[in-house]
Symmetry: C2
Subunit: 204 residues, 2 copies
């Protein structure tokens, strides 16, 4: 049921807060009343931090990850393996992969996947800049770490073709049964692939 | 697991967004990345609406409900019954009661309930201003629409005593079985009261 708000200002704030992903009117109202109860200073810190996001945040000129500086800490870290590029669709994927602590190379953030239904074509993504990085030389492997969906697979295939002229190994993330997952509930495509791509037993 | 964020600015925004009630770091990050993807104009509208909340929102000089003007639309509505005051603890309660469309009188927002454990005493609430409104005359009934909790009951009793010297009827919201509730799962105190305060069968 539509709630009657006693104030136009509150109404506007609730409408704006409901634009956040997964936030409905009830939650937005709770957020608004919570902000209203906070100190003026706290609210200023809150809005300032959000304005700063849009105003001050940069994108790394090399990998297009978000960064406070022109080149992100990962790209400017000389201890990392500069011959490997891991291609991901979004910023969150970089964070997820960094959290595994298994990867020491560089990244390349596409900014999405090819999805004709959403009007996203190859030109809307950072694919040309990836090809340029490979063409510049010094890259031995490009890992395509893109979600195995229809759009993701299309994007992988497109990039694979674009990189064909260069002397670079193109690899995909392994697809198989997730750790802790029950075989009974694993879909047949994943299970089939995990059988085809079985690995030698490692007793270490 | 603590996520490694690639930017201090993003980190600050995520920290600020996690201050919203019920928002953890993962949700805050989702909000931040969503805001980052929005237009500059949209983000400006968002932060401006929140700043306006704190800067421009007023509290009604009579009932202390939030309002864009010195006196709220309810208090200035001459068609409402000006001899009845419904006392509530919070702004949300006014909205909830207005949504029932069953009440045509005025309100009085206390701004909380008496709760010694949280350091909230009668002086921190709008109780004196309620007594003043009643003392000014013209009020025939004060409805205490406060949640039936320990603190709520204490607050009701305190107000009841404060209003004793005046010629005004003090009433409580009916307590009983909620509409749609299963008797089997109703607590015994509520069920006992609903039996004591049973009402004549109304076949209209």
């Amino acid at each position: 049921m539509e709630q009657v708000l006693p104030s136009r200002i509150l109404q506007t704030a609730v409408e704006q807060l409901s634009l956040l992903p997964g936030v409905g009117r009830k939650t937005a109202l709770r957020y608004a009343l919570n902000l209203l109860r906070s100190d003026e200073e706290q609210v200023q810190g809150f809005t300032e931090s959000i304005s700063a996001l849009k105003r001050d945040l940069k994108f790394c000129s090399m990998c297009h990850n978000i960064s406070d500086t022109d080149m992100c800490p990962i790209c400017s870290d000389q201890r990392r393996d500069r011959s490997t590029i891991c291609v991901v669709s979004d910023i969150q994927d970089v964070m997820a992969l960094e959290n595994t602590q298994q990867y020491k190379g560089l990244y390349h953030v596409l900014g999405g996947v090819i999805s004709p239904l959403d009007g996203v074509g190859p030109a809307d993504l950072e694919i040309d800049s990836l090809v340029e990085r490979v063409a510049a030389g010094g890259i031995s492997e490009v890992i395509l770490a893109i979600s195995p969906t229809m759009e993701g697979d299309t994007t992988c295939f497109y990039i694979y073709r674009k990189l064909a002229p260069y002397d670079v190994k193109v690899t995909l993330l392994a697809r198989g049964v997730a750790v802790g997952e029950d075989l009974e509930y694993t879909d047949e495509v994943t299970l089939g692939r995990s059988l085809l791509n079985r690995t030698p037993f490692d007793d270490k």
